[in-house]
Symmetry: C2
Subunit: 243 residues, 2 copies
């Protein structure tokens, strides 16, 4: 299983993913699901992938190979908008599915893969997209400042309560770490390390890209303090007078 979340806030973007992959029948492995596919001072483009690993990896490989080998054509390296990038990513996934899906389905394997795509290209605001398994996609809005993929439910309540477009990158980062902690506690198939990327609006450079393992000091502190705070918050709730 997988848990990925992307936030598009006034101050910038946060993207985060876990690293647990069931890459085969009995093979619980670790694969980073975050890829920075462009960062050149003119554009920062990042993907988080969930679902079938071969399909998501190869869709990205196709994009990167084309940007390298056919630089004069439209690609992630020269697209003028994140909308164009989302279109290219959806097309690449359709191409890979066209090649692989029948073979996967014949073995009962789901060829589905989804992407959270975030980034900024000079001349545009930062943008965040959710690219579905079928290659179509949606963009976030102010009322919907985040997208999740994979095992989304355990970590959603804290995001629903705290995050709006105006939340600062620092507060939202804390909230994302808590959201991962809640998910990891409740679903063994989501696990650390957590990959976290913070992008500040208009910087056109990744500000922080950090991998937090089980023993990462910040992750450990948040986990412990959050657990204590929740237990204290329950204790502080008034006793029902009817009990």
């Amino acid at each position: 299983m997988t848990y990925c979340v992307g936030l598009n806030l006034e101050e910038g973007l946060i993207l985060a993913s876990d690293s647990r992959t069931n890459a085969g029948v009995d093979d619980i492995g670790r694969f980073g699901k975050m890829r920075v596919i462009a960062e050149d001072g003119e554009r920062v483009i990042v993907t988080l992938s969930a679902g079938n690993l071969s399909v998501s990896q190869n869709a990205l490989n196709l994009l990167e190979q084309r940007a390298r080998h056919a630089p004069s054509q439209l690609g992630v390296h020269n697209a003028g908008s994140m909308f164009e990038v989302a279109t290219l990513l959806g097309d690449a996934m359709r191409e890979i599915r066209g090649r692989d899906a029948a073979y996967l389905k014949a073995s009962g394997i789901d060829p589905g893969a989804t992407f959270i795509l975030g980034g900024q290209i000079r001349g545009e605001a930062p943008r965040l997209f959710l690219v579905y398994s079928e290659g179509n996609f949606i963009e976030n809005s102010d009322e919907t400042p985040f997208f999740q993929t994979g095992e989304t439910k355990f970590g959603k309540p804290i995001l629903d309560r705290v995050i709006d477009s105006g939340t600062s990158l620092v507060e939202a980062t804390k909230c994302v770490v808590v959201s991962f902690d809640s998910t990891i506690r409740s679903n063994l198939s989501v696990g650390p390390p957590i990959d976290l990327l913070v992008y500040r609006r208009d910087s056109l450079r990744v500000q922080v890209q950090r991998r937090m393992g089980e023993d990462d000091p910040y992750y450990t502190t948040v986990r412990k303090q959050w657990n204590d705070s929740l237990r204290a918050a329950i204790a502080e709730l008034p006793h029902p007078d009817w009990l």
Copy 2:
């Protein structure tokens, strides 16, 4: 959708359910999902139902009708153990599914229904069962003091963090209300009123059965205070020094 939770703690049982039912294609209605099927000073038996409403209702109707019309036979009114009651409930559901499932499936309707069954019969400790759609069932253990059915994930992290067998009925009740609040906030198809029942071990009488609507004073207070506490707890987390 539905959210039900049952807890079996050293001090007794807590059972709670929401009241939102999609009873037909376009008909979002309200139906209590909690039924006290016996309470006579010798036994307290309570069910929470999730899934197909006609199947779950009629399985219970069958049990109640038999207890009334064939009192000399084994029934919920004279069973010597909760294990026997769980068996009777599983059998009743199989009987209803035997009558209805083919017709439901022919219209693409899922005939699945699951029960959380809790109670105590004099001579036994309080017991808690999860009766699956197929009529088989499992019982909780000290390591697994609660069962959930329906839309379980949004409300699970807080239960995972706080509840163990030794948690008091008062603390656990607060936690259950919070678990419902988290679920209702994140999934519109789960909604109040919340039915809550508290049973104190060896009392053989229901201690509290309470329906909490949207405007219930305790539910309103918890909702507000919990939301404030969570936001404060996020604010109090240390800022990451790498951001």
